[in-house]
């Protein structure tokens, strides 16, 4: 397999609180290969959005990378560590090479500029195209993301479009400079199911046509099954299981991953099978248990789980951070 586009190594991110600091990411590592889709899966607060913001260099002012590296391989083949990049380097990359789609299409577009303006601004920032060429390119993008009557839509304001249309505009915006890496942070969560399927279809088609890599952030296992080549399951700021998508669905081995899969309806399940929720909630960041963070909610937890646990090989290309990996829960 060729060199990864993105190679995140032992990334640590901390947020300053009033007096103390809390660790939001604990030694997160993953790699994303060209043309592939890696899904980061987890509940709210698991650190998946923080990971994406760290890659973009857009952590809020009270957050900072405190360790590790984000190796990014640019289109020209040069590899650089984004955690050490200067502000202007990051600005030049953002949008042009690494683009992002956000969860809320309703509020992610500026209400006071036309969609043509907002997509065109990307070209204004990163290319030398003149106004006429920019408009032409924007129009092509709108057609590419299948916005009907693009020529008349280009001068619309966001409030004149539906949620699904706006997310298409967001995708056009993210793709207009032909980025090598697209970070999609729950791009379909706010949309209803039929629109969701259309947007996922569109993203897959664009990926095939344009060849970018996608870091897909979601909490929805159904979407993971649709989109991902590889999956990293996050819990409380750390990756607990990592595998190819088919392997993960065939042999979920971390108790948390199993819990996630058991808690949602999936096609192919025996009829009448009950959905099992995961008891409890994610521990707050300032009160992380020592050892395995999932232990307090885990049916398999025992003395051993008080010791720190890290990802280790469970099967080829399948890594799990659990002393009891693969074992069935016998009691809940």
């Amino acid at each position: 397999m060729n060199e990864p586009v993105l190679d995140v190594r032992n990334l640590r991110v901390a947020f300053r609180a009033r007096r103390s600091s809390v660790t939001a990411l604990r030694d997160v590592s993953f790699t994303l290969h060209p043309g592939r889709t890696l899904a980061l899966v987890g509940e709210s607060g698991s650190g998946k959005s923080v990971s994406s913001l760290a890659i973009m260099g857009l952590l809020p002012p009270n957050g900072a990378v405190t360790g590790g590296a984000i190796h990014y391989r640019a289109v020209d083949g040069s590899v650089s560590d984004l955690t050490k990049a200067s502000k202007s380097e990051m600005r030049a990359r953002r949008g042009a090479e690494i683009a992002m789609i956000f969860q809320e299409p309703m509020s992610s577009l500026n209400p006071l500029f036309t969609i043509g303006d907002q997509i065109g601004e990307m070209l204004l920032l990163h290319t030398d195209l003149d106004a006429r060429q920019r408009r032409q390119r924007v129009l092509e993008m709108l057609e590419l993301v299948e916005i009907p009557a693009a020529a008349s839509r280009i001068d619309n304001y966001p409030h004149e479009l539906s949620g699904g249309m706006r997310q298409r505009v967001m995708i056009a915006l993210a793709m207009v400079c032909n980025p090598a890496l697209l970070i999609a942070d729950e791009p379909t969560t706010a949309l209803d199911v039929t629109i969701q399927a259309q947007i996922l279809d569109l993203m897959r088609r664009l990926q095939k046509e344009l060849g970018m890599s996608i870091l897909f952030i979601t909490h929805d296992m159904g979407v993971v099954a649709e989109m991902a080549d590889d999956v990293a399951v996050m819990y409380a700021g750390a990756i607990v299981e990592q595998a190819g998508a088919s392997e993960l669905f065939a042999r979920p081995s971390h108790p948390y991953t199993r819990g996630l899969l058991h808690s949602i309806p999936m096609p192919g399940r025996p009829e009448g099978e009950r959905l099992v929720p995961i008891p409890g909630t994610v521990p707050p960041l300032h009160a992380m248990p020592e050892g395995c963070a999932f232990a307090p909610r885990c049916g398999l937890a025992d003395e051993a789980c008080r010791e720190p646990v890290s990802l280790s090989d469970f099967a080829p290309n399948h890594r799990v951070a659990c002393f009891h990996a693969g074992r069935e829960v016998t009691h809940v």
């Binding site: 973009m56 949008g95 992610s108 209400p111 006071l112 304001y157």
Partner: protein, 313 residues
């Protein structure tokens, strides 16, 4: 859009008509004989009767009202009892200092307050933010007559940088007259900048937390472009509102400042007219100020339309 403006202008005329009616009624509803009230207790019955005839008070009230409205529509607001001049002339002579004072102090306030407000919001909680807020608080709490007196004492009298008071002699040139407005404009500007600063900061704080600001950053633009293009335009509506209101207040006459600096403006005129019971002038000032208010409101609303295309009336 055109229909909206037409509707608003029609509405404006209705408001002004109502103001005319109220101005008319105020004088007639005042207890006792308006003519006697205007002339004071020392007037002889003959004088009072003469004034009644002069004002048309001896005619039926409906006729009086009709005459008043028709005259006002033709720009005739009556004659000042004190100046013995048409009210419109009296008002026009006082309008220049007031309007320029309002304009200068607003510009001063905007130049000071908007950049600081934007920066304070951007660096929320920083030393600069906190000092800006406390300074604004202080500026808003110091009465303008005190600031005015201090400025006169130190900047005008001691240092001789600006004229201390007045508006120049009858033959002062326009530039000279404007020179007299510098100090009072700063005094008024300081008070108003406090309000504008707080509104700008609050409005920017709201907007800077919006999702589309994060989108703007993800596009790889510099912070100045994020703040000035993507955030400020969205924060503009509350800021425009407060600027409009401030300006409307200022044109109705900054009474205290005009008094302290002895500027012959509208504020000064109205206060003197009240003391002299010069009803036609009070009436006229009421009508002019109310019309200006309505006009400024219309302009503010039209500005919303140009800023935000979602605004529909």
């Amino acid at each position: 859009m055109a229909r909206y403006i037409l509707k608003r202008i029609l509405g404006m005329f209705i408001v002004i008509f109502l103001v005319l009616t109220i101005a008319f009624l105020i004088v007639r509803l005042a207890p006792g004989d308006p003519a006697a009230l205007m002339l004071g207790p020392e007037a002889t019955p003959e004088e009072t009767a003469a004034l009644r005839t002069e004002l048309g008070l001896d005619r039926p009230i409906v006729v009086q009202y009709f005459t008043f409205v028709v005259n006002a529509a033709q720009g005739d607001l009556g004659t000042s009892l004190f100046f013995r001049q048409p009210v419109t002339q009296v008002l026009a002579a006082r309008a220049e200092p007031t309007i320029f004072l309002a304009l200068f102090s607003l510009v001063f306030a905007l130049v000071i307050a908007t950049p600081i407000g934007i920066y304070a919001a951007y660096r929320r909680g920083s030393f600069l933010d906190q000092s800006a807020i406390s300074t604004a608080m202080l500026a808003a709490s110091i009465p303008s007559f005190w600031t005015g007196l201090m400025f006169q004492r130190y900047l005008a009298t001691d240092l001789g940088l600006f004229p201390a008071s007045g508006y120049g002699g009858p033959d002062a040139s326009f530039i000279e007259r404007m020179g007299y407005l510098i100090l009072p404009s700063i005094v008024l500007g300081i008070v108003n900048s406090a309000l504008i600063l707080r509104f700008t900061r609050a409005s920017m704080l709201d907007i800077l937390g919006e999702d589309y600001i994060r989108t703007a950053r993800s596009k790889g633009m510099g912070e100045p472009r994020v703040v000035l293009r993507h955030a400020l335009k969205n924060a503009a509506i509350p800021i425009i509102t407060v600027i409009g209101l401030t300006f409307a207040l200022l044109v109705s006459g900054a009474v205290v400042t005009e008094r302290v600096f002895n500027i012959p403006g509208m504020g000064n005129l109205v206060v003197s007219a009240v003391l002299r019971r010069d009803y036609p002038v009070i009436q006229g000032a009421l009508i002019v100020v109310a019309s200006l208010y309505v006009l400024i409101n219309l302009v503010t609303d039209l500005l919303y339309l140009t800023v935000d295309k979602r605004v529909r009336y």
